[in-house]
């Protein structure tokens, strides 16, 4: 199968937005307001933290907030000089959205955490573990969620057996991104499963 025809191609997966469970974006924004716009989206790898942060950014901008989204990862680290540059560029009307806060050194994070109290309107981070900021929302996954997402990505009439999805989910320990990547490979190897 050609990459562009693969139902699990990256832009199709990215088009699936975060599905809030037991809450709404309106409630989430109220909660964030109550937290002085300082909170953490917490969850394991592949649970939708980055997707939720991007969706939250869109909602905040619709509400008239200025935001700045920063991705921190292995290829785009936020070392001490980069951290200082970021702090220098910060403005009081901005909500800083920081994806991958776990990867910032503790000493740099301590400075950033303190600095953003007075030099930014707010800060929302994603992290694998709670503790860096009060938890705004905990991202979780389930086999049912994987099935729902896969059903949305697949052309109608070409379902993947639920047992296969469940075993993928178990093997990847709930990491939906890893599950969807493996499904990409399965489709790349075969014209259909």
């Amino acid at each position: 199968m050609k990459a562009k025809d693969n139902p699990f191609a990256v832009e199709r997966v990215h088009a699936i937005r975060y599905r809030l469970q037991n809450t709404t974006f309106e409630r989430l924004l109220v909660r964030l307001h109550d937290m002085n716009y300082r909170g953490a989206i917490v969850g394991p790898e592949g649970s939708g933290k980055t997707t939720l942060l991007e969706d939250l950014r869109q909602r905040l901008e619709q509400e008239g907030f200025k935001t700045r989204l920063i991705f921190v990862n292995d290829t785009c680290p936020l070392d001490t000089p980069a951290c200082r540059r970021l702090l220098a560029e910060m403005t009081r009307d901005q909500i800083v959205l920081l994806d991958g806060a776990d990867l910032i050194r503790r000493s740099d994070w301590a400075i950033m955490k303190r600095y953003t109290i007075t030099h930014a309107y707010g800060v929302v981070i994603t992290a694998h573990h709670p503790g860096r900021l009060p938890t705004l929302l905990e991202c979780t996954t389930s086999p049912e969620l994987l099935r729902e997402i896969v059903a949305e990505l697949l052309p109608q009439g070409h379902p993947i057996p639920a047992e296969l999805l469940d075993s993928l989910y178990q093997r990847h320990q709930g990491n939906l991104r890893a599950c969807l990547r493996e499904l990409y490979d399965l489709y790349a190897r075969n014209d259909h499963i």
């Binding site: 199968m1 050609k2 990459a3 562009k4 693969n6 191609a9 990256v10 832009e11 990547r181 990409y184 490979d185 790349a188 190897r189």
Partner: protein, 123 residues
């Protein structure tokens, strides 16, 4: 009629590198946008991170709520349209209005043969 549309002369959608693409844009909106923008670009899709290259953009300021305009773009030498199992490179023209979220996109094939290059992956 679509609110935004991109069509090519003689309904062609396959072109050779360095060839000039001729076509027409049409718009039929509720109010005049600030501007319309027509972009020629390529992007990759597949398993990995998406890569994008915008080759040329033409902007039409205060175009009115509806109208038509001819356009032409000269394609570069490369990259060719191609597809493998892990990555495809797709060329497209995209018309957008601002403000607003209206988009019209037409994909084209760019290659000397008029067909996308198929990358054969050994099994």
């Amino acid at each position: 009629m679509d609110r935004l549309a991109v069509t090519f002369d003689k309904s062609r959608t396959a072109f050779a590198p360095r060839e000039t693409v001729y076509g027409t844009i049409r718009w039929n909106l509720d109010a005049s946008p600030r501007h319309l923008e027509l972009s020629l670009f390529w992007y990759t899709t597949g398993k990995g991170t998406r890569d994008v290259g915008v080759v040329q953009t033409q902007r039409l300021d205060k175009p009115g709520a509806h109208g038509t305009k001819d356009f032409s773009f000269t394609l570069p030498e490369s990259p060719y349209s191609f597809s493998g199992r892990l990555i495809s490179l797709i060329w497209a023209l995209e018309l957008t209005s601002s403000p607003g979220s209206e988009i019209a996109r037409q994909e084209i094939t760019v290659s000397p043969t008029g067909r996308e290059v198929i990358l054969d992956t050994p099994r």
